[in-house]
Amino acid sequence: MAERPEDLNLPNAVITRIIKEALPDGVNVSKEARKAISQAASIFVLYATSCANNFAMKAKRKTLNAGDVMSAMEEMEFERFLQPLRQALEAYKKGQKGKKEASEQKRKEKKNITDENDKSRDEEEDEHMDDEQEGENEGEEEDVEN
């Protein structure tokens, strides 16, 4: 697989936005400094990943989770990030739950419509419930093995 340099860089648009919002009016950033900021961002991700992964491995888990990232932030001495990160995590979980409920609701509605047309659906409904539960578990993890 050919490696492209952009793959390890984060989008300039986002970085530029953060720069604009962090600096007071009138202060600009040199071209070299901009590049260095982008590199610093990638290094931060790698460093945080490595730290977080150590926690996962210690716990003999193969999946890196949000808790590992929190532990990593503490280890990296970014404790003041923890509170906002926890909030972000809660918001994300709520969002996911909402999406799941919405799609389950749609599925149920669809089923109800077809149920009216067909009488003996009990068995199939149970099977369907199992599928949904499996779907829930799969939704939490992404298979990104190397």
């Binding site: 050919a2 340099p5 793959d7 202060v27 991700v45 790698l46 890196l64 949000a66």
Partner: protein, 126 residues
């Protein structure tokens, strides 16, 4: 959305973050919430880094943040120790020679394009 003070477009794409994380060969699976959290942490880190560097920029009565200000910031804050390699290497034009202490910067290096040099041709597409 109620209570949303979200500034637009400061969230990094989860897919890109995951790609960077996967550069670490020891990393296995990644829960879906992780890139979201990392994105937020990254945003906060950059803001801190920029704010602290900006103080140096202003203390030198400059309107342009330069590499030197960043280097000074990195060297003066223990929090940014992990960026030391970046600070040491940043002023050199080519990134081909990396005497790196922490191997994170070397990962960035090997993926960086060196001016005047073609990309390696020995990577065969699968």
């Amino acid at each position: 959305m109620p209570g949303q003070k979200r500034k637009y477009n400061v969230r990094f794409p989860p897919g890109r973050i995951k790609k960077i994380m996967q550069k670490d060969t020891e990393v296995g699976r990644i829960a879906s919430a992780v890139p979201i959290i990392i994105s937020k942490a990254l945003e906060m880190f950059l803001r801190s880094f920029l704010t602290m560097t900006c103080k140096i920029t202003q203390s030198r009565n400059s309107r342009v943040m330069s590499i030197n200000h960043m280097k000074q910031c990195i060297h003066s804050e223990k929090l940014f120790d992990f960026l030391k390699d970046l600070a040491d290497q940043a002023s050199t034009a080519s990134t081909s020679e990396c005497k790196c202490q922490s191997h994170f910067y070397s990962i960035i290096c090997e993926n960086a394009q060196v001016p005047g040099k073609k990309m390696k041709a020995d990577t065969v597409p699968l």
